[in-house]
């Protein structure tokens, strides 16, 4: 089984567990006619009505709460403007490199004097090894070549197959395409001169021309290609932005329900776990939809403009990023919701949000550093199994090809297990803290309080 199949399996399993959990808790009842002719619920723990939204039908009162969250969030200006901005940034990141690439035409090499046909072919081949297409143009004399170099019409000139002339000296640290081409051409001409000086026979020359590089065996997997590198970075930034943004929404959303006292009205009708579950489900679905839209847009645009983004393991990195966005949000949202239930004011929210954001920032920085270094450390591999940092570390390991499907699945399973534990603890804190008003609730009070 390969990694995409594993990811699909995990997602299907999660959806299945959710459906089983919801459908196993009773069917909608019938509406009784209430006093004064108004309809009234019959009692079962879910809403009724043929026109209930699909989400509400699936998840009862939790679904109703989630549907409200989705409606309110998607309507908000922050969400709409933010989505458009993200799409614009992604579009720019994909299209601009493609445009730059297509704009950079072939490298023009001026030929002063004669250059034998085998050498002409060798120069073009040397250009290809540096990724540059080479076009050879004849120069009348050295003065004309100098003039063309100065005007930029040619990048370098080969003088009588014996010397290479450039406009500006090339430093040892210069890794530009032009510099690489000059080095390659210089080396090719040098080798040719040495071969000719050696007085080899035609057969020996042919043998040399057919030389093939030896196979290279590595102790460690190759660092990700440029496109995978880019996909890992895009994925990391996406996970970081999404986790930060949507968990903050959860935190502030819960705090606002408490501070506006609407929570008292809501909890008179639904159970705390339904209210809490609906909120994190609704915000999570908005987050996932936005992330999926961004990824789908990126992949579609990359395909349309012929970007490198679709090469190598990049699509796999993006898909696993989405999976870990779900797992990461599922883990953190409960923690943030519990924190929100302990606050009543904006300043309290800030003091609560800071410590919660530390593992997110830590995971993000570690992952960024690892992508930059091109090789995951043993410590980083451990982070890929810890639920707070796995959403950042595991997709990066996928990009490196440094993780097998069962390791991916084990980390996901561990995250799900820890999420269940965190959710239970958070629901208890939420239940005890959400109705305590007047001052900030201390964690000690709600954790040590007996579960009455």
């Amino acid at each position: 089984m390969n990694l995409p199949e594993v990811i699909l399996l995990v997602l299907v399993a999660l959806a299945g567990v959710r459906l089983w959990f919801r459908f196993g808790r009773g069917r909608p009842g019938r509406v009784q006619q209430g006093r004064a002719g108004l309809p009234r619920p019959a009692g079962p723990d879910r809403p009724h009505g043929a026109r209930a939204a699909a989400l509400s039908r699936l998840t009862g009162y939790t679904g109703l709460v989630a549907a409200r969250e989705i409606r309110q969030r998607v309507r908000g200006r922050i969400f709409r403007v933010g989505t458009v901005l993200i799409l614009l940034v992604v579009a720019a990141a994909i299209v601009i490199p493609v445009l730059n690439k297509s704009r950079s035409g072939p490298q023009v090499v001026g030929i002063v004097g004669s250059l034998p046909a085998p050498l002409r072919a060798a120069v073009v081949a040397a250009g290809a090894t540096t990724g540059a297409a080479v076009r050879l143009v004849p120069e009348a004399d050295l003065a004309a070549a100098r003039a063309d170099l100065r005007s930029g019409r040619i990048g370098l000139a080969i003088v009588s197959a014996r010397a290479v002339l450039v406009s500006k000296a090339i430093g040892a640290a210069d890794t530009s395409a032009g510099a690489q081409l000059v080095r390659a051409v210089s080396r090719t001409l040098g080798v040719d001169e040495a071969v000719r000086a050696a007085g080899l026979s035609a057969a020996q020359l042919t043998q040399l021309a057919r030389a093939r590089p030896l196979p290279v065996t590595s102790l460690q997997p190759a660092p990700p290609s440029g496109s995978t590198h880019g996909a890992s970075l895009v994925g990391l930034i996406l996970v970081f932005l999404m986790l930060t943004q949507y968990n903050t929404w959860t935190l502030i959303g819960v705090m606002e329900e408490k501070s506006s006292r609407v929570v008292e009205v809501l909890l008179a009708a639904v159970r705390p776990v339904q209210l809490l579950g609906g909120k994190v489900l609704g915000i999570g679905l908005v987050a996932f939809a936005q992330a999926a839209l961004v990824v789908a847009f990126a992949l579609a645009l990359a395909k349309a403009v012929g970007s490198d983004l679709l090469q190598g393991t990049a699509p796999l990195v993006l898909v696993s990023t989405l999976a870990w966005l779900v797992l990461g949000y599922a883990f953190y949202c409960w923690v943030y919701a519990a924190a929100g239930s302990m606050a009543e004011r904006q300043d309290q929210v800030q003091s609560l949000a800071f410590p919660l954001s530390l593992p997110i920032v830590f995971g993000y920085i570690m992952a960024l550093t690892t992508v930059g270094s091109g090789s995951p450390s043993a410590f980083f591999k451990v982070l890929a199994y810890l639920p707070p940092t796995a959403p950042f570390a595991m997709p990066v390991l996928v990009g490196f090809g440094a993780v097998s499907w069962w390791e991916f699945a084990a980390s996901a399973a561990l995250s799900v297990l820890c999420t269940v534990g965190v959710a239970r603890l958070a629901a208890g804190i939420y239940r005890r803290a959400i109705l305590r008003t007047g001052r900030r609730v201390r964690l000690r009070e709600v954790v040590s309080a007996s579960a009455r």
Binding site: A36, R40, G43, P47, V265, L266, A268, A269
Partner: protein
């Protein structure tokens, strides 16, 4: 008193503070019951206990002789003391949402929302955000939120606080109509004159304990008798202050309100007043609810 809602031995402690101390009383169907007590008496805690919003150390809440669970609570309506609505949500949407959380279909909730906004005179604000409404209109929307699902039991914590006379009349009218339709209505207020006008029954608590509970008429006619006596030329009721067994509770524009103890004969008081000057007013009065309240808590 048999009733639809029964509170039996409710006890709630917050550390050393006892908010509810074996509190028991019942609320009959079809009546508006005033729930009175000084600040900190435990009224809000009691109301929250009915909705499971506070954990009880002891006691139970029963509805129609059965324990109250989530399904029963969904048939109750609640207006908390510190009003609670989403400030940035549209009024109509908010009421439909709350109706649906109480088990209504979307269509029924929308119809009920329109009906209640119309009845409470805020139909034109259905598409406004709650935060832009005046205090009075927010109060009306909050009441609509408690009523939208047609509750069998309505519990309102200070529903009349801060309202102008028109707002008080509108909400009082709705509460009376709800009771007439068979709803069980319990509401707390410090506006005792309004409670006296609106309620058939009152329950007074203090320090989490029941002090008195009964019909307003019975409470008003029980206890010490009241006389209102006006004696020409004696606006301070100096004549009455020396009478044994008579206390001057207040003087209103020259008329003295007297409280007689059990042994004092009202005819004897009349003679004393006539001896002091020309008596222009002599009325035997019921106890006011405010007097019942003060005497119960004394």
């Amino acid at each position: 008193m048999a009733g639809a809602l029964e509170l039996d031995g409710l006890t709630r402690r917050y550390g050393p503070v006892t908010a509810l101390d074996h509190l028991s009383f019942s609320v009959p169907a079809g009546q508006v019951v005033g729930f009175l007590g000084p600040n900190g008496a435990g009224k809000t805690t009691t109301m929250r206990a009915v909705f499971g919003l506070t954990d009880l150390d002891a006691g139970r809440v029963r509805w129609n002789n059965a324990p109250v669970g989530a399904a029963e609570r969904r048939r109750f309506g609640y207006m908390p003391e510190e009003r609670g609505l989403y400030p940035g949500m549209l009024v109509g949407e908010q009421l439909v949402y709350l109706g649906r959380l109480h088990g209504m279909s979307a269509a029924d909730a929308a119809a009920a929302t329109r009906a209640w906004l119309e009845r409470l005179g805020v139909a034109d604000r259905a598409d406004s955000k709650v935060e832009v409404l005046s205090h009075g209109n927010q109060q009306r929307v909050q009441l609509a939120a408690a009523l939208v699902h047609g509750p069998e039991l309505l519990i309102l914590d200070e529903p009349l606080a801060g309202l102008d006379p028109a707002g008080v009349d509108a909400i009082a009218g709705v509460l009376a109509a709800q009771a007439r339709e068979g709803c069980c209505v319990l509401f707390s207020s410090h506006q005792l004159d309004l409670v006296e006008d609106l309620c058939e029954t009152v329950t007074i608590i203090d320090h989490g304990r029941l002090v008195v509970s009964g019909r307003v008429d019975d409470l008003a006619t029980s206890g010490p008798r009241r006389l209102v006596v006006r004696v020409e030329g004696d606006r301070d009721a100096a004549w009455a202050r020396q009478l044994p067994g008579v206390a001057v509770s207040e003087i209103d524009r020259g008329a003295a309100r007297l409280v007689l103890d059990e042994q004092t004969d009202s005819e004897w008081v009349l003679k004393a007043a006539m001896a002091a000057g020309r008596v222009t007013e002599f009325v035997v009065q019921r106890r006011r609810l405010s007097e019942v309240f003060r005497e119960a808590l004394a």
